[in-house]
Subunit: 371 residues, 2 copies
């Protein structure tokens, strides 16, 4: 990692070295509050997804505002949060392999842990590892409600796996995981609503069929920043897993623009500096592929509608100017990452500022926790 | 980062936890040797680009086989290599900002350092910082030889900047940086050859014009893994900066397939495990966007031509099977990253194996060194 830091608390924002991942604390805190308000009074609880931030300081704030726990995506990611004192974590993934199962069970003796299953072989391996470790664990049957990724189909296959889970002590069958990942990024509100309507019907019918066999289904969990209002109001889901709402990336904001949903603000930016300015049409910033993930497209540029981030190389970002007035050498631009999760995963620290002053530097402690 | 390691020396390859970045040492060493052979006996020296590997253990091996030094892309990246004992580093980038210049000059007192300029303001700032620190530094004028990114145009602008550099003691005008980045990834050998023919002419004419003014141009540097044979044989370039040849990613290999150039082998892989296998047509591996950068397309799959990596989410990779026989739950796949540089930058360690046994685990010490 870098042998020096981009900033220290107390530094003016203008002196933050670049590229740096920076968080506007005022916008971030408003986003936190908006989500807490959005679930308050409903029968739905928030289990905030920590894969977006990988940062214990942020998880603490989500829990303090009422989140029931967090989601993680990997066992090693969860371990970082257990070490930081988080007591209730759902790994929204299948966990396969003996080494991972041993580590998962060690975590399950220190915190309430849950995982997903979509095949009997995973259940057998989990139950065996749990017995060997004398640990208990929540398991959720993952139902494919439209993403075409992991999960068993709604209906019969889900019922059979739930029956098996309910019969796999010391595992606890905790419910259904019905996350429609693809729906989060559909462009129009109507497309997102239609996708979640299908997911809700599939979840409801599957839950009813399992309960008809005498097996309680305590939790139906899923949803993300793009669709959570629909799951919240469905009467079927009782837990939502949104994560990106705290930061808002360019892709989510593009969708938000066309909707009447709850509006979250951009709070996360990659601060960058113009290091070359070959012509009035073109400038090059010091933030490229290794500073902002481009899997969901190029970054936006904050409050500079006349500029476009055209192309990213490893450490170069090509900026074009519609009006032939590219920014000057040394000028700073605040980039809005195309996709916040993999961008955060590029940085060891988050530089948090309020107004024009750096207030804190938070470790992104689970960065690179892939195992 | 992950609280535990993917592997230890002595582990069988089959027990490496996943996803992990793994290096086939035999293939890697053959690649190192092929490049050393390719420049031996020519008047061209290799300054291997360390942005591809960010790993001092690899830089040491490149230097031991005759590389004159290394390239880095960032001041903080260079600092990691100076700390590791590398004595000659060219930062193939403009360096802008007071904090960076102070740190650059501190490095220049410990190692031979070079940087690029493409504007008089950069030269003034560098000269001033060098004087304040009583440091000396090589500067190269970056000439845009076809990439349309940084650099002054060939000819007059380059001549003026070289004159200014030659007159900016304690800076040393070291030559011309004529890297054609875009040409590295052109699909056909004929396209790459044509692009480099232009770069060679532009470099030759600019060098001749500067020397006609009595200013020596000791070095003309550039080239990458995709084109270095052309620069090597040009009679104009006397330094090449290839980096990816040690690993070879899917994108470079796709181009190599259509050429009669020197052939490098895939040595770098992301080892992944099937964690879900929803149907005979489809499996999901534990390596997604955060395990393999997709900026140059999806990963390839090593020695499994019947499989395709179809889609990447944060921590999921969707594998499709042409023949309806998706890999089994728990099976491991070796992914070939689409683009090696940003993929390496996702990992803290490189698991090095020979045959079926892990031989070493090398820190990717400059991972995340963005400043």
């Amino acid at each position: 990692m870098s042998p020096w830091k981009a900033a220290q608390p107390g530094d003016p924002l203008s002196r933050v070295d670049t590229p740096a991942l920076v968080l506007d604390l005022d916008a971030f805190e408003r986003n936190l509050q908006r989500m807490a308000d959005a679930v308050r009074g409903s029968k739905v609880r928030l289990r905030a997804h920590a894969k977006s931030h990988k940062c214990p300081e942020i998880a603490r704030r989500q829990l303090a505002l009422g989140a029931t726990g967090i989601c993680c995506q990997k066992v090693s990611e969860a371990a970082v949060f257990v070490d930081a004192g988080v007591e209730d974590i759902l790994i929204t993934n299948q966990v396969v392999g003996d080494a991972k199962l041993v580590r998962l069970m060690a975590l399950a003796k220190r915190a309430r842990m849950g995982v997903l299953v979509d095949h009997p072989a995973q259940l057998h391996a989990l139950a065996s590892a749990a017995r060997a470790a004398q640990a208990a664990l929540d398991v959720y049957v993952e139902v494919d409600v439209g993403s075409g990724r992991c999960g068993v189909p709604p209906g019969l296959a889900a019922i059979r796996l739930a029956e098996l889970a309910a019969d796999s002590s010391p595992l606890r069958f905790a419910g259904l995981h019905c996350y429609h990942g693809r729906a989060q990024h559909l462009r129009t509100p109507a497309e997102r609503a239609a996708a979640i309507t299908y997911a809700v019907v599939a979840a409801a019918e599957t839950r009813a069929a399992i309960e008809a066999r005498g097996i309680p289904v305590p939790i139906v969990t899923g949803a993300g920043t793009g669709t959570f209002m629909h799951e919240r109001d469905s009467g079927v889901f009782n837990e939502i897993q949104a994560g990106s709402y705290i930061f808002m990336d360019r892709d989510y904001a593009d969708n938000q623009r066309s909707s009447r949903d709850i509006v979250f603000e951009h709070a996360l930016f990659v601060r960058s500096t113009v290091m070359s300015r070959p012509s009035a049409l073109r400038a090059v910033v010091d933030a490229g592929l290794k500073a902002s993930s481009v899997d969901s497209g190029m970054p936006g540029i904050w409050q500079r509608p006349e500029l476009r981030y055209l192309k990213a190389a490893d450490e170069h970002g090509l900026i074009g100017s519609e009006q032939g007035a590219a920014p000057a050498l040394g000028e700073t631009l605040m980039l809005i990452p195309g996709h916040c999760d993999p961008t955060v995963n590029l940085y060891d620290e988050l530089v948090c500022y309020r107004g024009e002053t750096v207030e804190a530097v938070w470790p992104i402690a689970a960065r690179g926790a892939l195992l």
